[in-house]
Every structure is written in structure tokens, then in C-alpha cells.
Amino acid sequence: MVHSETSNSVENMGGASSADQSKQWLHMYEQMLKIRVFEEHVNVLYLSAKMPGLAHLYTGEEAVAVGVCEALHRDDFITSTHRGHGHCLAKGASIDRMFAELLGKEAGYCRGKGGSMHIADQETGNLGANAIVGGSAALATGAAMSSKMQSTNQVTVCFFGDGALGQGVLYEAMNMASLWKLPIIYVCENNMYNEYTHFSETTAGEINARPKAFGIHTEEVDGQDVKAVYTAAQRLVEQARRGEGPAFLLCNTYRYHGHHVGDIQRSYYRSKEEEQLWMTQRDPLELLSSWLVEQHLADKETLEKIERRVYAEIEAGVEFALQASYPDPGEVDQDVYA
């Protein structure tokens, strides 16, 4: 396992009191749990044929989205991927409107026109999930350029997976971000698989050597450890906000499910043992909750209370979406042009 370059720094979060710390970690726990339970319900909706299309679940990678987004302001920008539910939720999207979008309902974030792979939410700075692998690299960099040109002090985070490392436009964008010192963090979620192929079969050399070649400050963290992700992200975001330019944050993580919900037979590309190991030894929620209990920052009762709250919220969101109406047929050719 890869360790954060900044171990233990979270124990001293800028002199925050232990009560504040506990509150913040519990909030992150709740956010991660929200993503976990959200995806559980997506899985059920999909398998029961209530959700059309494709579902790429984020389960297992929750610490990355939450650790990074907790380091951002509400008006900071993110761009997301086909596996993007976690990013949306972590940036503050509302559960009911997300479920509504997933079911193609008018109350959804995109009036049912985007679906699972295209949720955008201007109010929380989410410029949209992108279903072209690496498709948001240049867009995110343009948003960072825009913030710099308008002196808005916003930072942009571009989330992408190890698969996007194969796309040339990522390198064009990183080159310009470094040349022009743009306030952007490239967050690479290495879940080890480009769809059904281990990244080592598709990725030559060292991943970190690539951003470094552009002169981009690069760090690597254990993406299952939300404390490590948050600490690194916070530092990189503040650097970018101060005008010190872009950064690359490699987060090593794992997706528990297949590439998409229908990817059931996975033994030809990864073993059950490997999956079990990550789920039992490296689960981001488990790692955080046991640390919270060990440190006496939370007890079981508190965690159970959070769990009940999250389930209630998610179930209400699902119910809202199931009851919501589909768009009027007249919507089909609306919003093609502004």
C-alpha cells in the first residue's frame, strides 16, 4: 500500500479543537456513507429494471471524492467522470434530484436529459460528469483558466481514473496548466482497472513521472484513507488558490463492483481474493470508523445514528424519484440551443 507523503499531519489540523476535529471527521464519515448507501440503492434500482441505461458504481472509492471535495469551497469547480455519483454527492448535490436524474425524471438535475453519466449542478460548482474517458481534462483546465482570468480565486478539481491516462488531451491540458500556472488539481483515481484491463498493461512507466515531466507538483496518497486524501487535497488546493499553480494527486483506490453493474464475471481480470482483501482490509468507511472509535472521537451509538439518518435520507430520495414525473415529450427538442 502507498502511504501519504504527509503522515499524521491530520492529527494537527491547524490547531482545531478536538471537538471541531471530531465534528469534521464525522461529517466526512457521513458523506462517505451517503455515497456508499446511494450506490447500494442504485444497484437495486438498476437490477430491478427501474433505472435505465448504465450504472458505474463508485463504491469503494468514497474517500477520494469526500477527502478532496471537503477541501473545496462551494463555488470551486469540479469535473467528474462516468463513475461520478460520488463526486456529485461529495460536492453537495441533493440526493433526491440525483436519483430523479438517474431515473430520467424531469425533477432531475438535468431534467432527465443527462442521466447517470452527465450530472451537472451549477449551484455546487459541478461542471458535469463526462462519459468520454478523459473528456473533462481540457474543460476543467479551461474553467481554471477562466477563474484566473476573472480573478475569482476559485480552484478547479478534475477527477479522472487511471483509464484517462491513455488520453492525449490530458497531457495537452496539463502542459497548458503548468505553463500558465492555472489553479487546478488533477485527481487521478487509480482503481487499477481500465474497464476490464489492469492498468499495468496499458500504462508505461510511472504515473507520477507524467505530471512531473510538465513541472507539475505531484503527490500520491492512499485513496482509502480519507484523512490522508483530505490533508493532501487541502494543501494542494490552498497552494493553487495562492497562485502557485496546478498539482496532480494520485489516489490509489479500488472499485468494489464491476466496471458497470452488469460486469459480474470478473475472474478473467481480477481475483475474488483481491476483491475480498480490499473490502475487508482496506475499506475506507471501516478505516475511518474504527479510527474514530479508537481515538474516542465517536462511539458506536453516534455512528449508528448517522447510519439511520443516511438510510432515511436515501430512501426518501429514492421514493421521491420513483414518484416524480417523466419529462413532457415536448422537452425533447428543448435546450438544444441556448
Binding site: A120, G128, A144, S146, A173
Partner: protein, 346 residues
């Protein structure tokens, strides 16, 4: 709807009657539109390869960096996909980028950014996000530049819902359409004929815009309609002149934008003349000529005395050798020949 404007007074004029008409080139008209829009709106900026001090190889942007500085006239790496994508992201977040893609052939490199990103952001976001982006690029053969610097690929982007496509044929149209493009809240792909940069014409000083989706009758006539775009408008006008001498009165219409397309004006003209030829420098097969011909065939069917004919670039990669290259593009002579046949003169 036939707002057939060839004079500034009929367009949306911004600053009243004291505008002076001067003769300037197509390239100067483009530069003037950019400069005026950059003065008008601080969010407008230019990005592309060699756009600053070099002013592009065509020198169209010469001098802009002196007025607006390198922060608004930005020399980029040779990364067409990257700069177009940065333009999309900047447009989504409050800026109005004008991206320069030197040769139209290079939009192949930027196609995902144009087709899958720029064109779809507004719709996919349920109408919440806008992409007020302009991509300026070129079209046209006959510069002896061979197969990768000579194509006219505007049909590619005209095919995609979410994009608008403008292709002016005169200095006057160039300035007015580019200003409209920059003020539009949608992605606009703007094609300039490289051979036309030195073409002169009357252009008013100061502000005016030309609405998209309004065709312009460049020459009135009663025997045959010649629908021509961009580089082919001059060819059509030359042909009309020759045809006039042999008693055929040709009407030349320039749609000016392939999307939105002013179907009504094209159909009305064909109804009036009963014959139509469509000329466009894109490849003929599956091209702009096919779309426009079908619009006329459907809309004016019962008025037509002859099948609607099409003339595009020959369906070959553009060859280098001048002798060969010249065979690939419609000429006044070939247009005259076809028009005479349609009018029963041959």
C-alpha cells in the same frame, strides 16, 4: 422571410447613421470584428497557435496583441484538442473565447471537444450550462497546400445538433456574422475561406451584426437559382455574369450559415426560377449540397422544371499538383455549363 440585405442599413445597426462605408479586405473585416467585440466585452479573448505577435500565418490577427495584450491574445501550444477544450471550459464559466484553428483540416484533432463536449453541454445539463464559444477556422483549396491543408469540412459540424455554423463570403458578411457569433450563447464554428482574405468590399465602420439563419441574395435573377456558400459565392457570381450574356438570368443566394439554415429563402427562390444548382466547396458526397438540394426538392418540388443539381469538391483527397488540384473544385466554367444544360441551352 427574405431579408435580402446587401447593404448595411438593412441589418441590425448598432450605432446609428453616421457609419462610414470603406473598402477593406475580408481579413481586415475579421480583425475589426474581433477588435470591436474585445473592446465591447472584456470576457472575449483569443487563443490559438501563433495568434499574438505572428497574427497567424494569414496575418489576419496582426496588431491585436498590441491593443489587448498577451493575456487576451494568447499564443498556445500546438494542441488543437487542448485549446478547444480549454475554450469550452472557459465558456462554461463566464468567458467568451474565440479559438483559432489555423487550418480547417485540423479540426479533426479537436473533434471530440467540439462534438461531444461543446455541442452537448447545454442539452445534457438540462439547459443550465452555456458554451458561448467561437471556433474560427478556414476552408478552401487551390493554395497548392495538398490534402491536409485544403479541405472544407464544415459539413462535419453542420451535422451536429448544438452547433451553429457560419461561413461568410464577403468582407461585409464576415464582420457582421463574426460579431453575431461572438455574442451568441452557443458554440459557433466559423469558417473563413483562406483564398478570400485579400478580397475587398465595402464594410461600415463601427458596430453592426448580421443575424444567423438569414440568407442573402447576392444577385437577383429569374431563370435559375444558384445557391452558393463561402468560396463558391464568387464562383457563382462570375458564372451568373457569363450566363447573363447568353440570356440566362441567374439568381445567386448565399445562405451564410449552414445552421441555422434559411430554408424559406432558398425554397422561394427555387419556386420562382424553377431550377436550382447548389455549389459548396465541401466534398460532394453526404455534403452541404446534398442537404440544401433536399430542402429545395422537398419545398419546391411542384415548381421545379429540372432536378436540383449539386456541385461540390471532387470526392478525392485534395492533390498537390496544380493541374490536378484545379480539377477538384467547381469553377465558373463548370457552373455555366451545368446551368446551360438545366436551362436547355446545350
Amino acid at each position: 422571410m427574405s431579408m435580402l440585405s446587401t447593404t448595411p442599413s438593412q441589418e441590425n445597426s448598432g450605432s446609428g447613421s453616421n457609419q462610414q462605408n470603406r473598402e477593406i479586405t475580408f481579413g481586415q473585416a475579421i480583425r475589426e470584428a474581433l477588435a470591436e467585440e474585445m473592446r465591447r466585452n472584456p470576457k472575449v479573448f483569443i487563443m490559438g497557435e501563433d495568434v499574438a505577435e505572428a497574427g497567424t500565418p494569414f496575418k489576419v490577427l496582426a496588431g491585436l496583441v498590441d491593443e489587448f495584450g498577451p493575456a487576451r491574445v494568447i499564443d498556445s501550444p500546438i494542441s488543437e484538442a487542448g485549446i478547444t477544450g480549454l475554450g469550452v471550459g472557459a465558456a462554461m464559466t463566464g468567458m467568451h473565447p474565440v479559438i483559432d484553428i489555423m487550418f480547417g483540416d485540423f479540426i479533426g484533432l479537436a473533434m471530440d471537444q467540439i462534438v461531444n463536449q461543446a455541442a452537448k453541454v447545454h442539452y445534457m445539463s438540462g439547459g443550465k450550462l452555456n458554451v458561448p464559444l467561437v471556433v474560427r477556422t478556414t476552408l478552401g483549396a487551390s493554395r497548392r497546400s495538398a490534402a491536409q491543408h485544403s479541405q472544407s469540412l464544415h459539413a462535419w459540424v453542420s451535422h451536429i445538433p448544438g452547433l451553429k455554423v457560419a461561413l461568410p463570403s464577403t468582407p461585409y458578411d464576415a464582420k457582421g456574422l463574426l460579431k453575431t457569433a461572438i455574442r451568441d450563447d452557443n458554440p459557433v464554428i466559423f469558417f473563413e475561406d483562406k483564398m478570400m482574405y485579400q478580397l475587398k468590399g465595402l464594410v461600415p465602420e463601427g458596430d453592426y451584426t448580421i443575424p444567423f439563419g438569414v440568407a442573402d441574395i447576392k444577385r437577383s435573377g429569374s431563370d435559375i437559382s444558384i445557391i452558393a456558400t463561402s468560396s463558391m459565392v464568387q464562383v457563382a457570381l462570375e458564372a451568373a455574369e457569363i450566363l447573363g450574356k447568353s440570356g440566362i438570368s441567374a439568381e445567386v443566394i448565399d445562405p451564410r450559415t449552414t445552421f441555422p439554415l434559411d430554408k424559406q429563402t432558398l425554397i422561394e427562390s427555387a419556386k420562382k426560377t424553377s431550377r436550382a444548382i447548389v455549389i459548396d466547396e465541401g466534398y460532394e458526397r453526404y455534403g452541404v449540397t446534398a442537404e440544401i438540394a433536399s430542402v429545395i426538392a422537398e419545398g419546391a418540388f411542384y415548381y421545379l422544371d429540372a432536378p436540383v443539381k449539386r456541385m461540390g469538391a471532387m470526392d478525392v483527397p485534395i492533390p498537390f499538383s496544380p493541374v490536378l488540384e484545379d480539377l477538384t473544385v467547381p469553377t465558373a466554367t463548370s457552373v455555366v455549363e451545368l446551368a446551360r444544360t438545366l436551362c436547355g441551352q446545350s
